[in-house]
């Protein structure tokens, strides 16, 4: 995958500051968030929101259930910013730490874990359902996760595992694919 390096490079020169600006413009309520750690989380929330617009799920949906798993403090931020928002006509519901039953209802699962074992376990729980899995580390996509919002200096890179998307019957807009670093790896599914 020679093209991957080029794609990667392209994304890295996005500035985090600009992303923050974009997010704050999108969501005036984020103005009440704290700076520093909270800024990155807000950007991640904005990225997640935007992701939902570039991915299409099989079947018709009038709501979009967003599950959050992990110990990180991102969960409340996502809940605060995204819960109840409309993404392309679908109401977003944020579910914190979903149980197995709840996990079945999720359309998007944000995995705030960095330990590969845990990640693998979570992905296994998802199984082959059409759930867009979003992680935070570069191991995530290689483990079979679909989208990685990976911190690189002051920037967040988007990594995409197209095989995983295909396996879970999800389609991602080519416009987003152009920005992303394409990686392969199926993890536990292999």
């Amino acid at each position: 995958m020679i093209s991957r390096a080029a794609n990667y490079e392209r994304v890295t020169h996005n500035s985090l500051w600009c992303a923050v600006l974009a997010v704050t413009s999108l969501f005036p309520i984020s103005g009440s968030l704290l700076w520093g750690q909270q800024d990155e989380r807000a950007v991640r929330a904005a990225f997640v929101f935007n992701l939902t617009k570039y991915v299409s799920w099989p079947g018709a949906h009038d709501r979009l259930v967003l599950g959050v798993i992990g110990e990180e403090s991102i969960g409340p931020v996502l809940k605060q910013i995204l819960d109840g928002k409309l993404s392309d006509g679908r109401r977003i519901t944020v579910v914190m730490h979903p149980m197995d039953a709840e996990l079945k209802e999720c359309d998007l699962l944000y995995v705030a874990e960095s330990a590969p074992a845990k990640i693998q376990s979570i992905l296994d729980r998802v199984g082959s359902r059409a759930v867009l899995t979003v992680g935070e580390t570069d191991q995530f996509t290689r483990a079979g996760g679909m989208v990685g919002l990976v911190r690189s200096g002051d920037q967040i890179e988007i990594e995409v595992n197209r095989d995983a998307l295909r396996i879970h019957q999800l389609e991602m807009s080519s416009r987003l694919l152009k920005l992303a670093v394409i990686v392969s790896g199926s993890g536990g599914m292999r």
Partner: protein
């Protein structure tokens, strides 16, 4: 005239064709350019909007995920769109996110959307909002310049101008073709018209094929020419008929004077090559005026026709016979060997006319006087043959008529003299230059003076005494004879009355009357008027006529003479023996006296034949019951002879010369008391 008209038509046609086509091409080009510009700008605007939408959509991910590099890459795709000068991508807050500029000249994007910048009229721009999944993600502004558009329009205009020039060339060429099609037949028509008018020929025809108006015009022209030719032929026929009429005498059908003059000119020209002599006979009928006056113009015209017929039958086919005046005919004789041939021909003509004519039952006798002139080939200057023949003809008239006279230079003089005399004679009576002399006539039996003969005399102040032999013919030809005759007769009658007062025995007066005068319708009436006016007894007047009264209608003359006789007037035949002298009709005319011409007395001494002739004439007259008067007795021997022959009366220088004062000169003869007998006569009688 023709050529400019031709070129004018050609120029007009080409000008119209070129002008109209260039106007059409010009309007078309302007419209096309305008429409094209409008369409191009509209297209550009539409394209700009579309491009903005496409670029915007392609930029959503970059905006959503704050990927400037990707945005720049997307905008960079506009490099292939040459008209795009700049593209400005703004985020959802309106802040400049990414930009693209074609080159250094492009105006940089403002930092925030909606911030004005000066772009000039050469640019079109569009601003579009970018939405993704119902969310506003930013906006894009595209700016394009119209330079490319303009250059394309310039190219289009250039092509249009080239097309215009091409179509002008085509129009000019087709105009020339059209011109050739139209103006060539027209110029042919013009040339044909020119031939007709310039040469007067009607052979010009135009051949134009086709069925258009020009061909119809040409066909019409040809028909017109044919019609003109036809009419021209008709007109020429009529003209030649008129010319023929103008050259012909309508009464006799002979050529007229005009024709004769032309013919004569031709013959004189021919004389330059031919070696013969040509002769001209000028014929004037003697006594025709008498016929006309006494029998009327109808008879006169018929007589002329008969004369023409006889002359025509007599002349050769090569000769030209023409009627040149009332009773004047002319003959051109060609191919003569000698001048004498002309005289022979003239004598022949006189002979053929001497036989009497019978017109409507009336026997008419006329004569002809002919003047002859001739021209030899080497004759030098052309003499006026007509004038010469005319002079000769007058000479023939004067020398006794009914004869032919050859022209001689002296006759020319005579002709001039005649004209002078006529002019002078016209006022002679009024000026008192005409007077009367009286010559006595004596009875041979009684010796008494029985009569005076009145003789007209003319004493001209410059020319002196002019003899009656000269001026009487002039008076007759000019018609002055009527006035002259009347004057003399009246004078004589008045004088005669005076004689009666002096003489116990009646003394007659003898008056000569010209044939012309006698033939006048008014003659008898005039005599009666004079008798009445002067109061003279008719028995005292003796009218003396010459044999020329027998010309024309004898019957008519006889009737008139009988009327005079019934009035009491005595009639005597004058100059007996010199004229036509046909004894045949002497008996039919009521003459009471016969005057024997002096020539017979004069010839008495020449021999016994003359004596016998005179004696026979005296006896003839006496046997016909007429008094016989002998004129010209100038010697005693003559007097003795004629007395012995039985003449009743004598006249002559021997017994008495003419006198203008007879009452003085012959007083002793008039006065009965002074002398009863003339001594000399008594002596003769006595012996």
């Amino acid at each position: 005239m023709r050529v400019p008209q031709f070129s004018s038509i050609r120029a007009n046609i080409i000008t119209v064709v070129v002008l109209s086509s260039s106007l059409a091409v010009g309007i078309y080009t302007m419209m096309m350019t305008y429409v094209n510009t409008r369409t191009s700008i509209d297209l550009l605007d539409t394209r700009l909007a579309t491009l903005a939408d496409v670029i915007g959509q392609n930029s959503t991910a970059a905006l959503d995920f704050s990927d400037r590099k990707a945005a720049t890459e997307v905008l960079g795709a506009l490099q292939r769109e040459l008209p795009i000068v700049s593209a400005c991508l703004y985020d959802s807050r309106g802040t400049l996110f990414s930009e693209y500029e074609r080159d250094e000249e492009a105006t940089p994007c403002p930092g925030h959307v909606g911030t004005g910048r000066s772009l000039g009229g050469e640019h079109r721009w569009v601003t579009r909002n970018i939405r993704h999944a119902a969310d506003f993600v930013g906006s894009i502004e595209l700016t394009a310049d119209v330079r490319d558009l303009k250059s394309r329009n310039y190219r289009l205009m250039l092509i249009a101008i080239m097309l215009a020039l091409l179509s002008l060339a085509v129009a000019g060429f087709s105009g020339a073709l059209l011109q050739r099609r139209i103006s060539k037949p027209v110029s042919q028509l013009a040339a044909a018209m020119n031939r007709v008018t310039a040469d007067g020929t009607f052979e010009a025809r135009v051949s134009v094929e086709g069925r258009d108006e020009i061909a119809q015009l040409a066909a019409g022209f040809n028909r017109m020419i044919i019609e003109l030719e036809h009419r021209n032929q008709v007109a020429r026929n009529a003209e030649s008929q008129l010319v023929e009429q103008a050259r012909t005498d309508s009464l006799t059908g002979l050529p007229n004077r005009r024709h004769l003059v032309e013919q004569l000119e031709q013959e004189l020209k021919r004389l330059h090559t031919e070696k013969w002599i040509i002769g001209l006979l000028y014929i004037d009928l003697d006594g025709f005026k008498l016929v006309n006056d006494s029998l009327g113009h109808g008879i006169g015209d018929l007589l002329l026709c008969e004369v023409a017929k006889r002359l025509k039958a007599r002349v050769r086919a090569t000769d030209t016979l023409a009627r040149v005046g009332g009773d004047e005919f002319t003959v051109i004789l060609t191919g003569l060997e000698r001048e004498g041939d002309a005289t022979v021909a003239a004598d022949g003509l006189i002979q053929c006319l001497s036989r009497s004519f019978v017109i409507e039952g009336t026997e008419i006798t006329i004569g002809a006087s002919i003047g002859i002139s001739t021209k030899r080939p080497s004759g030098g200057d052309d003499p006026d043959l007509m004038k010469q023949a005319d002079s000769a003809m007058y000479a023939a008239k004067r020398s006794g008529k009914n004869r032919a006279v050859f022209f001689s230079p002296e006759l020319g003089l005579m002709a001039r003299e005649r004209l002078t005399l006529e002019r002078e004679l016209r006022g002679a009576i009024g000026r008192g230059e005409i007077y009367v002399e009286y010559q006595p006539e004596f009875s041979t039996t009684t010796g008494r003076l029985v009569r005076f003969e009145a003789l007209a005399r003319w004493k001209h102040p410059h020319l002196g005494d002019i003899s009656p032999a000269r001026f009487i013919p002039v008076a007759e030809e000019s018609g002055l004879i009527y006035g002259l005759g009347e004057f003399v007769m009246e004078q004589a009658c008045r004088e005669c009355i005076e004689w009666q007062r002096m003489s116990s025995a009646p003394i007659q007066v003898a008056v000569n009357v010209s044939a012309l005068q006698f033939m006048s319708e008014m003659f008898v009436e005039e005599v009666a008027t004079i008798l009445q006016r002067t109061g003279i007894k008719p028995e005292l007047l003796q009218v003396e006529l010459t044999e020329s009264v027998m010309i024309g209608s004898l019957h008519h003359s006889a009737e008139k003479m009988k009327k005079l006789r019934s009035m009491g007037v005595t009639l005597a035949m004058d100059d007996f023996g010199t004229g036509y002298s046909s004894l045949g009709y002497l008996s039919g005319l009521p003459f009471s006296a016969l005057k024997i011409d002096r020539v017979f007395v004069r010839n008495l001494h020449s021999g016994p034949e003359s004596s016998t002739m005179l004696r026979s004439m005296i006896e003839l007259g006496k046997k016909m019951g007429m008094r016989v008067i002998v004129e010209g007795v100038e010697e005693e021997s003559q007097l003795d002879a004629v007395v012995e022959m039985g003449a009743d009366e004598v006249q002559g220088y021997l017994v008495g010369r003419p006198s203008s004062t007879p009452r003085t000169n012959f007083a002793e003869h008039l006065d009965e008391r002074r002398k009863t007998y003339d001594g000399r006569l008594s002596y003769l009688i006595g012996s």
